[in-house]
């Protein structure tokens, strides 16, 4: 079985995910309105530079859109008994998960591109040669994270995963240098920030709007690449391990 044909089959999974999960009300609300409200709350009573705001807006949008649905797809499929049918077709589990990851990624790309247009209204100069690769890499990382999030526990109750993943997402949001820049944090808080993939996106985005970052840009990019590979492949391994538990 060629890699190419597995890839083309993973696109069938993407289409299915788009039709079933991404065109639904709650998804749009969690994925879209939510970061906006959060962003609004963040704005109130502060006098921040446009560039700073733009970075925060893009980071939150990318983070919340690409992680809105991904964690719940497999539990949902297990619950509605479609999962077994899916994995009994001529595709590997890796292909199924790669399809789900791509769906998160494309959804993130569409919404984030759209929100990026605010740069024009805010009158910010954005270096696209930095901005585009950073956003793409960050979305890959967050999408891969959803594969890991859906892997354990092997539940068929989407709400359980939703809760757990929200907990993780909010924790990451607050330690990633969006609200308070890294350089203003005490050393131990900075150490905690280093374990969040979102930190590196925020840091790298600052370079694209000609602000200073805390880490060197190359380190941000490598960190995201590293996270995305670890997230995806450890997710695949765990999914394979717990597969049996999903059939009770």
């Amino acid at each position: 079985m060629s890699k190419l044909s597995q890839f083309s089959r993973s696109l069938a999974i993407v289409k299915k995910d788009m039709l079933i999960f991404y065109l639904k009300g709650p998804v749009v609300i969690m994925g879209l309105l939510f970061p906006f409200f959060l962003f609004g709350a963040f704005l109130i009573g502060r006098d921040l530079s446009h560039a700073y705001l733009f970075v925060a807006l893009i980071a939150m949008t990318a983070f919340f859109t690409s992680t809105a649905v991904g964690p719940t797809i497999i539990p949902w499929e297990a619950r509605s008994k479609t999962f077994e049918r899916l994995i009994s077709s001529p595709i590997s589990i890796t292909t199924v998960l790669f399809g789900d990851m791509q769906a998160s990624f494309y959804f993130g790309i569409i919404i984030t591109s759209f929100i990026s247009l605010t740069a024009i209204f805010l009158g910010i100069g954005v270096n696209l040669l930095i901005f585009i690769p950073v956003v793409v890499l960050a979305l890959l990382t967050f999408s891969a994270m959803t594969i890991l999030m859906s892997s354990y526990p092997p539940t068929d109750v989407p709400a359980d995963v939703m809760m757990l993943s929200s907990l993780v997402k909010f924790t990451l949001l607050f330690i990633s240098g969006i609200f308070v820049p890294l350089e203003k944090l005490p050393w131990y808080a900075r150490a905690v920030s280093a374990i969040s993939p979102l930190t590196y996106m925020v840091d790298a985005l600052r370079y694209s709007v000609s602000m200073h970052g805390y880490f060197p840009l190359w380190l941000d990019l490598i960190a995201m690449l590293f996270f995305s590979l670890i997230f995806f492949f450890s997710g695949v391994v765990i999914h394979k391990r717990v597969l049996e538990k999903r059939f009770t």
Binding site: M1, R9, L19, I20, R85, S88, L243
Partner: protein, 304 residues
């Protein structure tokens, strides 16, 4: 030619032994029935044969290829209807079929043509653009089978395909299974329904508590049990206990069924007992066992 070959298949869930060292093979063009009560290990077996679960030990060959090494290639030529398989309820019948076609790497034109053909065959053509959410269980199952048949596979795995369906859907599905066989396809079918096994299958394997207890044609299996005739009788006033006659005894209301090889001896004992206790024999029949009777004689418990 052997299409499926299973050797010493064993499956543990934790400490629990669900399938216990079973071996069998399925020939090309056969409808092979896997018959057993609930919890016997049928679904576990089909999941191993389709590569969804890895056996704890044992070997599976399908189309002469080792399942461990050629899972995807094997599946390309296989259609599967899992137990309680649901199509996606948020998609239309047609979209479910298209998804399947793409997962099997079929060409767009081929998918469209074959889908319409199957929708007609399964009496779902009018519903092709309706979301599956509103489908009855029978309609969902018909669509499920259509999805499995879309790539025109050589081998079909069906896990209780007619279980719990309305009569019309069950009848249609059985008819289509027979037609697939006529077209040279091989069918492996799980069922706990004796009648289906009897009507459809060329060979039947009987499984209970994870162990194979018989494997043969429905006729031969009935012969195995032919020794165990069924003597059915009724007494008035009704009074009977196990142990009065030898063999397996089943008391259903005021009727007693005895499964035994010793017809002569058993009837004499019944008559003696009735005389002794001053009971009237209302009826007494000796029957050849049905597949169901044999099944119960073999499995030794009720099949529900």
């Amino acid at each position: 030619m052997e299409i499926i070959k299973a050797e010493h298949l064993t499956k543990y869930y934790g400490d629990f032994l669900a399938v216990n060292d079973i071996s069998f093979s399925v020939n090309k063009g056969e409808i092979f029935g896997f018959l057993g009560p609930n919890g016997a290990g049928k679904t576990t077996t089909i999941r191993m044969l389709t590569g969804i679960l890895n056996p704890s030990s044992g070997r599976i060959e399908v189309f002469g290829m080792d399942m461990k090494k050629h899972k995807i290639e094997i599946r390309e030529r296989t259609g599967i209807v899992p137990e309680m398989a649901n199509p996606y309820i948020d998609l239309t019948a047609m979209r479910n079929l298209r998804l399947m076609g793409r997962l099997y790497g079929m060409k767009r034109r081929e998918i469209e043509e074959r889908s319409l053909e199957l929708l007609k065959l399964f009496n779902l053509y009018e519903k092709k653009d309706t979301k599956v959410r509103g489908f009855s269980k029978g309609m969902k199952q018909r669509l499920s089978l259509a999805m499995a048949m879309l790539p025109d596979p050589e081998l079909l795995f069906l896990d209780e395909p007619t279980s719990g369906l309305d009569v019309m859907s069950a009848r249609l599905i059985k008819k289509i299974i027979r037609e697939e066989q006529k077209r040279g396809k091989t069918i492996f079918m799980n069922t706990h329904n004796m009648q289906d096994a009897n009507e459809l299958c060329n060979r039947v394997a009987i499984i209970n508590h994870g162990k194979l207890i018989a494997i043969d044609t429905p006729e031969k299996i009935k012969e195995i049990g032919a020794k165990s005739n069924v003597i059915e009788f009724s007494l008035s006033p009704f009074k009977f206990k196990e142990g009065i006659v030898e063999g397996r005894v089943e008391i259903l209301g005021d009727k007693v069924k005895v499964y035994t090889g010793e017809v002569d001896e058993t009837i004499k004992k019944i008559v003696n007992y009735a005389e002794r206790e001053n009971l009237k024999i209302v009826s007494l029949n000796v029957e050849k066992p049905s597949l169901e009777d044999v099944f119960m004689a073999l499995v030794g418990e009720k099949n529900e």
